[in-house]
C-alpha cells in the first residue's frame, strides 16, 4: 500500500505578513474587510496543504462571506431588540433559530464543501436534512435525557453524518465504527478531568478552609478566581485529549471510494497538549504577535501526522463544478460559529 504524507508548506514569516495586513485592513474598514481577510486566510492554509503532489484550494468570495455576516448581525440586532422590548417574542425567535440550526449547519457544510477543492476537483456534501435533524436535534435531546452517558453515540453519529455525506467530486467518503473507541475516549477524558480536578479541589478546599478561619476575604476571592481558571484549563485539556484520540480513530476508519483508500492520523494527546499549552503561552506573552507562528506550527504538526493510504494505484477523481450560489444559500451558507465538530 502506497503512503502519501500530508504536507503543510506554509511558513510563519509569509503568514505573518498576510495576517497583519488582514488585521490592518479589517480595522481600517471597521470590520468590513474581515470577510475578504477570511477568504485570504483560508486560501493560504488550503493552498499550502499538499497530498500526493496536489494542493487544496478555497473558492468562496469575500462578498459571499460578507452577506452571511450581515444576515447574522441583522438577526442578532433583531434578537437584542426583541429581548429588550418583548422578552417572550425573543424566546420565540430563539426557539425558531434552534429549530432551524440543522438546516443552517447543513447548508454551511454544502457551501464549504463546494467551495473547497483538491487538484481541480470540488468537494461536495450530500447529507440529508432528515439526518441533520437526527444528529443535531434528536440525539442531543436523548443525550441530555440520559445525563450525557450516551454522548459517544452522538459523537459517532456526528462523524458518520459529516464524513459519509462528503464527496470528492463524485467519489464518496465512508466512515463506520464500533461504539467502543468512542466510549473509551470519552471516559478517559472524563476520568482525566475528574481525577486531576478532584485532587486540585481537595488542595484548594484546604487552603479555602484556612483562609476562612483567618477571614481574609480578598485572598478567598483570588482563590475562587484561581479555581475558575484552573477548571477552565482542565476542561480545555480534557477536550484536547478527547479530540486527539477521536481524530486518530476516525481517520483509521474512513475510506474513500470503491477502492477503499484509507487515512491515518498519528497525533498523540501529549504532543497536542504541549502544542496547545506552549502556543498559548507564547502568544499571550507576545501580546498576540506570535499568533501566526503558533498557527503554522499547529498546522504543520497536524499535516505531518496525517497520511493518505492509497490502495493499489490512485485513480483519477472526477466531478462537476456545482454552483453553490443562490440568493439564500449564499447569505446563509457561511455562518460564523454554526458548524459541526468534524474530526477532519
Amino acid at each position: 500500500m502506497e503512503q502519501q504524507q500530508f504536507e503543510f508548506r506554509g511558513n510563519a514569516r509569509e503568514w505573518f505578513g498576510i495576517w497583519i495586513v488582514n488585521i490592518l485592513l479589517s480595522i481600517v474598514t471597521l470590520g468590513i474587510y474581515s470577510a475578504w481577510a477570511k477568504v485570504r486566510t483560508k486560501k493560504y492554509f488550503y493552498q499550502n496543504t499538499w497530498v500526493a503532489g496536489r494542493n487544496f484550494d478555497y473558492h468562496a468570495t469575500g462578498k459571499q462571506i460578507l452577506k452571511g455576516r450581515l444576515v447574522v448581525i441583522a438577526a442578532i440586532f433583531v434578537y437584542a431588540l426583541l429581548s429588550a422590548v418583548a422578552p417572550p417574542l425573543a424566546v420565540l425567535m430563539l426557539l425558531a433559530y434552534l429549530i432551524f440550526i440543522p438546516v443552517l449547519v447543513k447548508n454551511g457544510m454544502v457551501f464549504n464543501a463546494r467551495n473547497s477543492s483538491w487538484a481541480n476537483v470540488r468537494f461536495n456534501f450530500e447529507g440529508q436534512t432528515g439526518e441533520a435533524y437526527k444528529v443535531m436535534l434528536g440525539l442531543p435531546i436523548v443525550v441530555a435525557l440520559t445525563a450525557y452517558t450516551t454522548f459517544p453515540f452522538l459523537a459517532r453519529a456526528v462523524q458518520r453524518f459529516g464524513i459519509n455525506g462528503h464527496r470528492l467530486g463524485k467519489t464518496a467518503f465512508h466512515f463506520e465504527s464500533d461504539i467502543g473507541p468512542f466510549y473509551k475516549a470519552f471516559l478517559l477524558a472524563v476520568v482525566f478531568f475528574a481525577a486531576i480536578g478532584g485532587l486540585l479541589g481537595i488542595l484548594v478546599f484546604q487552603l479555602f478552609a484556612q483562609a476562612a478561619i483567618v477571614g481574609d476575604l480578598g485572598a478567598l476571592q483570588v482563590m475562587i478566581a484561581v479555581i475558575y481558571v484552573v477548571a477552565l484549563l482542565l476542561g480545555a485539556f480534557a477536550v484536547v485529549l478527547y479530540q486527539s484520540m477521536i481524530r486518530n480513530h476516525v481517520y483509521a476508519n474512513t475510506t474513500l471510494g470503491a477502492n477503499h483508500h484509507g487515512f491515518r492520523s498519528t497525533v498523540t494527546p501529549g504532543a497536542m497538549l504541549w502544542l496547545a499549552v506552549s502556543n498559548a503561552l507564547v502568544v499571550a506573552s507576545t501580546l498576540g504577535l506570535m499568533l501566526p507562528w503558533a498557527q503554522i506550527r499547529a498546522q504543520r504538526y497536524l499535516a505531518a501526522n496525517s497520511t493518505f493510504l492509497i490502495n493499489g494505484s490512485l485513480e483519477e477523481f472526477t466531478g462537476e463544478i456545482q454552483d453553490p450560489t443562490n440568493a439564500i444559500g449564499d447569505a446563509l451558507g457561511d455562518i460564523e460559529g454554526v458548524e459541526l465538530g468534524l474530526a477532519m
Partner: protein, 341 residues
C-alpha cells in the same frame, strides 16, 4: 499595443479532474493555447479574456482558471505580469512581504487598533446610546423587572410610610438633578441574598432592596447618597454604555483574533471579562462623583455615603476581579472630593 506572447510552464488539470498533466500555456496575442508538454497535443484553445489569474496568496503555485473549467498551475515568475494580476492584488502582496516595511504595517495595525479602542468605540457607543429611543429604554426596564420578579425578587415588605419617606428623598434628588421626573422612578423589591443594595436600569428605574431601607431606617443621608449614586448611573447612561461597549469589544476581538485554537480562546474570553469589569469600576467611581455633586446641591451630608461604603467593605475582594472598586478607594475618592471643594 498587442498583448505579449510568452510560454509558461506548469501543470494542467482537465475540468473537474484530479489528474495532472505536465503542460505549457502559450500566450499568443489574443489567443491562448494549453499544450500537453509530454504528448505535445493541444489540450485547450481559448481567448485571452477567458483566462483568469486567481489572486495569488503567498508563494504557492499560481492558479490560472481557463475556459470550460480547466485549471493551470504555474510557478513561473512572470505569471503575475503576463496574466494581468489586478493592481489591488499586487499591492496586497507587496505589503504582505516579509520586509522591513512590514514593521510599519504592524505598527500601523497596532496604532489603528488603539485608535479604534480609544476613539472609534467610544464614539460608536455614544452614537448608539444617543440613538436608543427613550421608549426602548423604558421597555428594557419593564422587561428586566418582569424577569427579575419571575426569577428572584419578592414583592417589597416595606410599609407605606417607609416607602413614602424614601420617595420624598428621591423626589428632592431628582428635582435637583434635572433628570426627567416622568421617566425616573423608584421601586422597592425584596431580594433575598443581595443584602443592602440598590441598582439602576437604563430607562431611569432605580431599585432599592428592602434590606437597604430596613438596615438604615434613620440614616436619610446614607439613603440619599446611595440614591444619588444610582441617579449618576441613570444620568450618565452607564447601563447602555456597558452593553454597547462589551458588544463592540467582543466584535473587535473576534475580528482581530479569529480562530486562535484551544486554550487561547478561553484566555481571550477571560481577558474580555476583565476589561469589562475595568469599565464597570470606572463607571462606579464616575457615579460616586456625580452623587457627591448632587448631595452638595441638596444639602445632604456625604458622610452618609462614606458610612455605607465602610459597612459594605466587608464584601470587598480583589479589585481586578470585581465589578465595583474597593470601598476604601471609594471612601478616598469622597475625601479627595471634599478637600477640593
Amino acid at each position: 499595443m498587442a498583448p505579449p506572447s510568452a510560454i509558461l510552464e506548469g501543470q494542467a488539470f482537465a475540468p473537474g479532474s484530479s489528474a495532472p498533466h505536465r503542460a505549457n500555456l502559450h500566450l499568443n496575442g489574443g489567443q491562448v493555447f494549453l499544450i500537453d508538454a509530454t504528448a505535445e497535443t493541444v489540450l485547450l484553445r481559448c481567448q485571452r479574456n477567458e483566462v483568469r489569474l486567481d489572486p495569488p496568496v503567498g508563494n504557492s503555485p499560481r492558479n490560472v482558471h481557463l475556459a470550460e473549467g480547466w485549471l493551470f498551475q504555474t510557478q513561473a515568475p512572470g505569471a503575475s505580469a503576463l496574466l494581468d494580476e489586478q493592481l489591488r492584488s499586487r499591492l496586497l502582496r507587496h505589503f504582505e512581504q516579509f520586509h522591513p516595511r512590514l514593521f510599519a504595517v504592524a505598527l500601523a495595525a497596532v496604532l489603528a487598533a488603539v485608535a479604534v479602542w480609544k476613539w472609534a468605540i467610544p464614539v460608536l457607543v455614544a452614537l448608539a446610546v444617543w440613538m436608543t429611543p427613550a421608549t426602548l429604554k423604558q421597555q428594557i426596564d419593564r422587561g428586566t423587572l418582569q424577569s427579575m420578579d419571575f426569577a428572584m425578587a419578592e414583592p417589597s415588605q416595606l410599609s407605606e410610610a417607609q416607602q413614602a419617606a424614601q420617595h420624598r428623598i428621591f423626589a428632592t434628588l431628582v428635582t435637583a438633578s434635572g433628570l426627567d421626573p416622568e421617566t425616573v422612578n423608584l421601586q422597592f423589591r425584596d431580594l433575598p441574598g443581595m443584602g443592602p443594595n440598590a441598582f439602576a436600569l437604563p430607562g431611569g428605574t432605580v431599585v432599592l432592596t428592602d434590606a437597604l431601607v430596613t438596615a438604615y431606617p434613620e440614616d436619610t443621608a446614607l439613603i440619599a447618597g446611595v440614591m444619588a449614586h444610582e441617579l449618576g448611573h441613570v444620568a450618565e447612561q452607564h447601563g447602555l454604555r456597558r452593553l454597547y461597549q462589551s458588544l463592540s469589544l467582543y466584535i473587535l476581538v473576534a475580528m482581530i483574533a479569529g480562530d486562535v485554537g484551544p486554550i487561547l480562546d478561553n484566555l481571550t474570553l477571560e481577558g474580555q471579562t476583565l476589561l469589562n469589569l475595568a469599565f464597570s469600576r470606572r463607571h462606579e467611581l464616575a457615579a460616586d462623583t456625580y452623587a457627591l455633586r448632587l448631595l452638595d446641591q441638596t444639602g445632604y451630608d456625604s458622610a452618609g455615603l462614606t458610612r455605607f461604603f465602610a459597612d459594605v467593605a466587608k464584601y470587598d475582594g480583589a479589585n481586578w476581579t470585581s465589578s465595583h472598586p474597593l470601598s476604601k478607594d471609594r471612601i478616598k475618592n469622597i475625601e479627595i472630593y471634599n478637600q477640593r471643594r
